[in-house]
């Protein structure tokens, strides 16, 4: 596989829980991200999937240093970002850009598209001449399938899909190597979602981009990803190549997730068993000891309730479940 662009190692983001009004004190912490490790290679799409509160978006914010990690390392192109000061972080911010979910909230309604797409250039390339600047904005709009003349318009004149294209053009302005898409197609209608997914994949081929793709939609993730990490309560429980994960899910939570997603084919659905899903996601404030999925897992044993499972390695990934830990020692020799 190609060179590693981003390496995240043992990332933790804990938020203090403070109680009291006049005399406040920290009474505990929410471990939103608790020991997450993954790598993204150049030109690769790596996805994090999981349900609300699993820590996927917090992971993204910590990678960008929009949140300071409690522990762990984020290495970008060989540089440890967590060791950098705010000032020395600046050049790296140009290399990593973000596209958000809501194209209505992420574009300033008072700015013309010209200024929205061009703002990163004004900040990071102040020496750029006005004509170069306009040319670059026009090229960017063209790149995402909008007309250069649209630069003179305001966001409200565009549909949701077009706004998301504007947000993508802005993300591309500084020629980043990594784009983080946080639920970037989730708010779009299906016919428009398909257009934006195609655009993202086309841009990747054209520009050699890497994506960190964050989504709750397993169908979209399966479509767009090279490798996928499944998160549950702040940890990655299974990380594999796309086809390995979807055709051979091992972790009971991954299986539960996949069973829960309806397939758009009534014939297949009629043959599928009704998914068995036990209980609800426990509070992140008070996750269960041992394996965090043990309260909802039909295979849970006493060991799962006390001891956190270690990662058992798989091709280009791992699974963290006691079910596979024992077999791993026997299997690793033959697998290698």
């Amino acid at each position: 596989m190609s060179e590693v662009l981003l390496a995240v190692e043992g990332l933790k983001v804990h938020f203090p829980v403070v109680e009291g009004v006049l005399i406040s004190k920290t009474v505990g912490s929410v471990k939103a991200v608790d020991g997450v490790s993954f790598q993204i290679h150049k030109g690769e799409t790596f996805s994090l999937v999981g349900e609300s509160g699993c820590g996927k978006s917090t992971t993204a914010l910590a990678v960008l240093r929009m949140l300071d990690p409690t522990a762990g390392k984020v290495t970008f192109d060989g540089t440890d970002l967590t060791a950098l000061s705010r000032q020395s972080m600046r050049p790296y911010r140009q290399e990593m850009q973000m596209v958000y979910q809501d194209p209505f909230g992420s574009l300033n309604p008072r700015m013309k598209v010209q200024s929205i797409v061009g703002e990163p250039l004004k900040v990071h390339r102040p020496q750029m001449s006005n004509s170069d600047y306009k040319k670059r904005v026009a090229d960017l709009l063209d790149l995402v399938g909008l007309l250069p003349a649209m630069a003179e318009r305001y966001p409200h004149e565009f549909s949701g899909g077009q706004r998301q294209r504007i947000a993508i053009a802005r993300a591309l302005a500084l020629e980043p190597q990594l784009i983080i898409c946080d639920e970037a197609v989730s708010a779009l209608d299906v016919s428009i979602q398909a257009q934006v997914i195609n655009l993202l994949m086309h841009l990747q081929r054209e520009l050699g981009l890497s994506y960190l793709f964050i989504s709750h939609d397993l169908s979209v993730v399966r479509h767009i990803s090279d490798r996928v990490g499944v998160m549950y309560l702040g940890q990655i429980v299974e990380l594999k190549k796309r086809d390995d994960l979807f055709s051979n899910p091992e972790h009971p939570y991954t299986k539960t997730l996949l069973d829960a997603v309806p397939i758009a084919n009534p014939k297949l659905e009629a043959e599928r068993a009704e998914p068995r899903i036990i209980g609800e996601v426990p509070s992140v404030r008070n996750p269960p000891p041992g394996c965090r999925f043990n309260t909802r897992c039909e295979h849970a044993t006493d060991r799962c309730r006390t001891e956190a499972p270690a990662a058992t390695s798989r091709t280009a990934g791992f699974v963290a479940c006691h079910l596979f830990a024992d077999a791993a020692t026997d299997a690793s020799s033959s697998a290698a």
Partner: protein
């Protein structure tokens, strides 16, 4: 009208007064729901699917108005009903489940009382009996420790639990018809699966019919018996779920089906898209509203196609193509 028809919309049209003039959100919709069946209405934002659902219970608000057509429920035309007659229908013979359980539950009333209220209103039960019944209903929707939950407020419950409360309320008076408007869109996928399975089991058990409004073609495939596809306020195709997915006929339905990445599809392949944008309802094209995005559009498409039958149970509104 066949013998087991429960609800029939006849040529229903709904207009809204807006800053930009009258907007026809629903146009000439004819639709039937049989007893005990699950009908899905699918479409994208602005297709008129939610407005159609809201109009059945006359919940259109000040700006919206039914300007043509009938809503036949059993033997009554609901469009002729007064507000007090409608109140006797809502939550009693037809109930509704909304997308966002946090905003559709009252935040300052304990959930037990909210579930019991329709029983007091429509069944003349005492509050004491109604609360006992509410506890049984919470048990039916698989809420753990229902007695303790009766006294809790909506904010103390998770999103999935709140939607279970909504379902308990909807079921309280054993309605003949339940309308669920995107009931699981705000929920995580495992919770969605739990809620929809519950809704399906309970409608089967009570014999209630279900109208499921959704944009999710996977949900439709798993739960619906029949499907109506809406575009720009009109039904463009309707069929049994099996037939519609096996052989979508309308170019819009075909486009929708091929533009979703599905778990059983080919991963990574270029997705087929529908070119262009959904139309602006205040400024609809003449003739077929889908024509500007349709690869088969021709001269005939300048007139509006009516819903006609392809086979007995498969209808479409299209001038046809080669």
């Amino acid at each position: 009208m066949s013998t087991n028809a429960l609800l029939r919309l006849n040529d229903l049209s709904i207009v809204f007064r807006t800053d930009r003039g009258l907007v026809r959100a629903v146009d000439s919709v004819t639709l039937q729901v049989d007893e005990g069946e699950t009908l899905a209405i699918v479409g994208e934002s602005g297709s008129g699917k939610s407005v159609t659902a809201l109009s059945i219970l006359q919940l259109l608000g000040e700006a919206g108005k039914i300007d043509r057509g009938q809503i036949m429920f059993a033997d009554d035309d609901l469009t002729t009903f007064s507000e007090s007659q409608m109140r006797n229908i809502r939550g009693n013979r037809i109930s509704m489940i909304f997308q966002e359980p946090m905003t559709s539950l009252n935040p300052v009333i304990p959930v037990g009382k909210q579930v019991a209220e329709p029983l007091v209103l429509h069944r003349d039960m005492s509050w004491k009996d109604a609360l006992t019944e509410a506890e049984a209903l919470l048990r039916t929707v698989a809420i753990p420790d229902p007695r303790a939950r009766l006294d809790e407020y909506p904010h103390q419950l998770s999103g999935g639990m709140r939607q279970r409360i909504m379902i308990a309320m909807a079921l309280a008076c054993q309605p003949k018809l339940i309308i669920a408007d995107e009931p699981t869109t705000a929920l995580d996928v495992t919770v969605q699966a739990q809620i929809l399975a519950l809704l399906k089991d309970l409608t089967h058990a009570t014999g209630a019919a279900l109208i499921l409004i959704t944009h999710d073609l996977g949900v439709v495939a798993r739960y619906a018996d029949r499907v109506a596809v809406m575009y720009a306020g009109r039904i463009v195709e309707s069929a049994s779920a099996m037939d519609l997915y096996a052989e979508p006929r309308h170019p819009y339905t075909q486009g929708l089906m091929s533009s979703i990445p599905s778990l059983d599809g080919v991963a990574g392949a270029e997705l087929t898209t529908i070119d262009g944008q959904p139309p602006d309802l205040a400024n609809l094209p003449v003739g077929c509203a889908f024509a500007p995005r349709c690869k088969y559009a021709r001269q005939a498409c300048n007139t509006t196609p009516q819903l006609t039958s392809i086979t007995d149970h498969h209808h479409w509104a299209c001038h046809g193509y080669e």
